[in-house]
Symmetry: C2
Subunit: 333 residues, 2 copies
């Protein structure tokens, strides 16, 4: 249950070389067994933990820096959706038997770059060997003015449903990766393929929206498991979501793919890994919310309404037909 | 990279069934993507993360409840060593392909029992599949009066070195598990074997010592990677530790094993998984510290002194010979 690996540096040397340079205030250069953290006066901390596992949440041959950025990004996406600003994170890295220093060096460089871009220093963590697939767990810590964390299940009937950015690109990027020779995939130009792959590889937590969610949203979450399934989670017990499919924002790339292969619309609506913000906003606030979001550089689009009643969200076509997605949620599990 | 498992409940159902009942204040029954937490006025939070991996840190056939207790216990041992009281924890559970609901039910029952005993409710986390070995990551959060976290590297020359409880039992319990038919192992009675195995399986975080460490200790850490190696970490850059081997507290079971097989003294001193407190205390404080610890139900023993100079800790035999352990630290990694 233990073993030295004389040919490669031990845990302490790895931490000193690759992770100590990333440490923030309170982390004591990762030379202690714990770190201290205090929210600013009048603020609450917001905590979340998500792991990504090789072969489940990412491809083992994805670039190491991209894997690091994804591990941090998916957690900060949750932080942003709660209206919080990133404060720090703890990292647990499970290294499989075939790890190399080249990989680890690229991983820590990607992590440093992402953490700097997101304004979120490393506070602590652990590095372990695993007999199986590599994994990365991040516990992310954000901060909100006291009592202002935006909840998931607090939408009200009559609220408008809004999403940021575009939906489905990451799921189509994954589909492209899994079936690069499919007719619809082969028809794409290089730039379009690159856009879709980039959206799958590189989640962009919508940190700029956090203060606007606190001001305008009645409920919010990030879209990680697919729009249809996550919308069901947000509105379940509150009301029934009705979405106009034509209003769901799609990128030019996604529109092209779906025009060529209409069945992939379902992939876009249910596929996951969007890491966009899904929120509900009182009707009187929608215009101000959208304008403030646009000013912050993030497009948001109203796609539907929370109606009374219950049941899976209804997706209404331009012809007036209603669809729902019973399975709904993309299951990483 | 995705898959439904219709024959077994999905992640949301698992969380609702096995983990939601463990959720504390701020966790909203684990029905949101993040939790909120605020330290009491005048307090700092103390955060640490450690993972345990099947086949590395525990045996896959260890009782599931014991694995859960270990995952939480090793983290709360760090919290206690920093002088902090447990506040909450986040759990990331990586389930291997062969997981069963029977296992998960026993795991969550053990976790609930340990969390209740340690006064540390569940705040959030993640449940994922892994293509490889199961793993459990815990991020533990404690609380200390502002500015009073006890650091690892703040010992002073002249301080006495103290440890809680007894050293080596867990490492001998592991040795017993790995070689149950060794002559020294076969000579043990059932109760002795049980004691050693229990110390390996069930770390006991020394939470009762936390306030006393804040009052009396100049530096502290928990003994997780072996006394010799952890002492080197604590005193490196400060001075040279000198320990009287005869003063290192051993259980009756450990004394019996070492009497039968003297080479196992080294296992006891370097083997790890003790989860006792190692600390330095100014000489004038040792008596008061030991008395207060005894009153709190935890024996502490002075085993040596921080001398000037540098180098690996010296372990002095009764005959006056000095030994050091160059490799020192038990490497899980």
């Amino acid at each position: 249950m233990s073993g030295e690996r004389p040919e490669r540096p031990g845990e302490d040397a790895l931490i000193a070389r690759y992770f100590a340079p990333l440490a923030g205030e309170g982390a004591d250069g990762l030379r202690d067994d714990a770190a201290s953290l205090t929210p600013r006066p009048g603020h609450d901390l917001v905590l979340t933990a998500d792991a990504i596992v090789a072969g489940i949440h990412y491809f083992p041959d994805d670039p190491a820096g991209s894997i690091a950025r994804k591990a941090l990004g998916v957690n900060l996406s949750d932080i942003a959706a709660k209206g919080a600003a990133p404060r720090a994170y703890l990292l647990t890295l499970g290294l499989a038997a075939d790890w190399t220093e080249t990989w680890l060096s690229a991983f820590s460089a990607g992590l440093a770059e992402a953490a700097a871009a997101f304004g979120c220093p490393l506070l602590g963590g652990d590095t372990v060997r695993t007999a199986g697939a590599a994994f990365i767990n991040v516990t992310a810590i954000g901060e909100v003015p006291a009592g202002s964390m935006v909840r998931r299940r607090t939408a009200r009937v009559g609220d408008r449903i809004c999403v940021s950015g575009t939906i489905g690109d990451a799921a189509l990027g994954l589909a492209l990766r899994l079936a690069p020779e499919a007719p619809w995939a082969a028809a794409l130009d290089t730039e379009t393929r690159q856009h879709l792959r980039d959206r799958y590889l590189h989640p962009r937590p919508r940190l700029a929206l956090a203060p606007l969610l606190r001001r305008h949203a009645s409920a919010a979450m990030d879209v990680s498991d697919g729009l249809a399934g996550d919308l069901a989670k947000m509105t379940g017990g509150v009301g029934r979501a009705e979405v106009a499919i034509a209003d769901v924002p799609l990128s030019a790339a996604a529109r092209q793919v779906i025009a060529d292969e209409p069945a992939l619309l379902d992939t876009a609506l249910t596929g996951g890994d969007d890491y966009e913000i899904l929120c509900t906003v009182p009707p009187a606030e929608v215009e101000a919310f959208a304008a403030a979001a646009a000013a912050a550089g993030v497009p948001v689009t109203a796609i539907g309404t929370v109606l009374g009643g219950d049941g899976a969200p209804l997706f209404v076509t331009e012809a007036g037909a209603s669809r729902s997605f019973a399975a709904g949620s993309y299951a990483h599990f």
